[in-house]
């Protein structure tokens, strides 16, 4: 047991390809939690009740006195919500190998600060001062972890990936399945063009600079597919040196944080519609969690004051379609192709000449299954509702509470990114990997912009209209 990291006996992954995967990966736990909350919301709804009481968020406020009064009045709801999150996440993380006595205080701190962040975002002038909760959470977390520091055992409660995956499953419940079917092919086409171009640029620049092909592939996947998760998946598939993944991690984190601020800033300056900005972020951001921070932030800027048209949902939906449906789900295919090339073309100490095709499923981001099922479930539920009934009954009674829970899950995620990004811990990347990756970033951002704004701009601007 490592007390320093708050980890108990982490489950062995040596035989994770069987049924054990259902309770030993964060992906499946995100599916169970997200679908359970969605099912409970549905059951309450059809019985004339709602999850709205539990899914409380701070309403708009203009003065601290008003905010204080609102928080005091809703205190029982916040306490109940905290308790529900705590129980659900504690059970899951305990089975995933974290110590309960480390997780509980860590999550308590996370929830308390998240309440303050979401409340700050509900201030009537928050948009004017650009106090978007995702950006506030990220910056606050970075300051705390890099200037003041927190005990490392608290990391047990700062599980970025777990929270973002849970949020994505909940997001599925608010995204019409028909929209996924309608927009999915375009998302896959746009994402595939950019992913392949970005990978090839990083790979060939890296090789041209004299880097090992395995490092080149690891860097390429990190920039082209789904960030750090793709980098380590491909590193394993191509049998990289153990020094390679940390290099890719450093570069992905660095550029992902830059893009969290850069993409919404430029999108806003150009007054891109919410759906278009979200599509660009989905195409050109590197990690799911970072991208959701950028997309939610951009969606939060929608309004006459900023000149950004559309709805906040459009930014998050177009981002999700391109990033999750267009890029993430293909990680197994990338791993398979690159493992074949690695085994057959690149010299290695190890052998393992038999390429394992099962990895296409093993590496598949299983939370996407929950995302699709949640979307399908809610779409079937509301299929016979009229537009009027949807807006007056279904939306406030069923969809809005799930959306609120998603906001909380993502806020936990954004704050955890900052709290776990300790810049001094990151491995030095080196000049050549930096320039190779940066070349891919430049190409990725430019092609992503052209496709999102000029080629498919009308499509994304009118998403779900």
């Amino acid at each position: 047991m490592s007390e320093a990291s708050g980890v108990a006996d982490a489950p062995s992954l040596s035989d994770r390809s069987g049924w054990q995967e259902l309770w030993r990966t964060e992906d499946w736990w995100a599916v169970w939690l997200g679908l359970s909350l969605t099912a409970i919301a549905y059951l309450l709804f059809i019985n004339g009740s709602s999850l709205a009481w539990l899914a409380v968020v701070p309403p708009k406020w203009v003065s601290f006195a008003q905010l204080g009064a609102q928080l005091a009045a809703d205190a029982p709801r916040y306490i109940a919500q905290y308790a529900v999150w705590l129980v659900l996440f504690t059970i899951a993380t305990a089975i995933l190998g974290f110590k309960v006595r480390a997780f509980i205080p860590a999550f308590t701190l996370l929830y308390a600060v998240s309440v303050a962040i979401v409340a700050a975002g509900a201030w009537e002038k928050s948009q004017y001062y650009n106090l978007e909760p995702p950006l506030v959470a990220l910056v606050l977390g970075l300051i705390v972890s890099n200037i003041f520091g927190l005990p490392r055992w608290l990391d047990a409660g700062f599980r970025v990936e777990f929270y973002v995956k849970t949020g994505i499953v909940l997001l599925g419940a608010t995204l019409p399945f028909t929209l996924i079917v309608w927009a999915g092919p375009v998302a896959i086409l746009q994402a595939s063009i950019v992913s392949i171009a970005t990978f090839l640029v990083i790979f060939f620049v890296a090789v041209k600079l004299g880097l090992d092909k395995r490092l080149a592939a690891t860097l390429g996947a990190g920039g082209a597919v789904c960030g750090v998760s793709a980098a380590i998946a491909i590193a394993g598939a191509v049998r990289a040196k153990k020094e390679y993944p940390p290099i890719a991690i450093t570069l992905v984190i660095g550029w992902a944080i830059v893009m969290i601020f850069f993409l919404p800033l430029v999108s806003g300056a150009l007054h891109l519609p919410a759906g278009v900005g979200g599509a660009w972020i989905g195409t050109s951001e590197f990690a799911d969690a970072a991208g959701f921070a950028a997309a939610q932030s951009y969606g939060g800027q929608v309004g006459p004051a900023t000149g950004i048209s559309g709805t906040p949902d459009q930014a998050v939906w177009s981002y999700t379609l391109i990033k999750v449906v267009g890029r993430d789900v293909w990680i197994g295919i990338w791993a398979l192709v690159l493992s074949i090339i690695s085994v057959t073309r690149w010299e290695t100490i190890t052998k393992g000449g038999r390429v394992n095709y099962g990895q296409v499923w093993w590496r598949f981001p299983k939370f996407v299954v929950g995302f699709l099922l949640a979307s399908l479930l809610i779409t079937l539920v509301v299929r016979n509702a009229s537009f009027g009934d949807y807006n007056t009954v279904v939306k406030p009674g069923l969809v809005a509470p799930i959306t609120s829970l998603r906001v909380w899950a993502f806020t936990f995620c954004f704050l955890s990114i900052g709290l776990t990004t300790r810049l001094k811990d990151l491995a030095p990347a080196g000049g050549k990997p930096f320039w190779a990756f940066t070349a891919g970033v430049v190409v990725n951002v430019i092609i992503g912009f052209v496709l999102s704004v000029y080629v498919f701009g009308d499509y994304w601007a009118n998403l779900a209209h």
Binding site: I232, A233, G236, Q359, L426
Partner: protein, 70 residues
Amino acid sequence: MTHASTCGDCIHFRNDADHLERSFPGLTAMSSGRGAARAADGLCDRHGLYLARFAYCDDLVRKPASGGRQ
């Protein structure tokens, strides 16, 4: 000493999530050692590689039946 058939059975191979998250600084900031994407990949202490559990080489040594490292 007996031969293992793949890295997953080898004493030099470690793929528990905690070990991986400590070995790769920054991994948990935007990913995880407990995610599906990495499958059951792990670190080979013998050759300094990060690789799938179904790889193999000439230096494989089977783990003890119990009490071995994972």
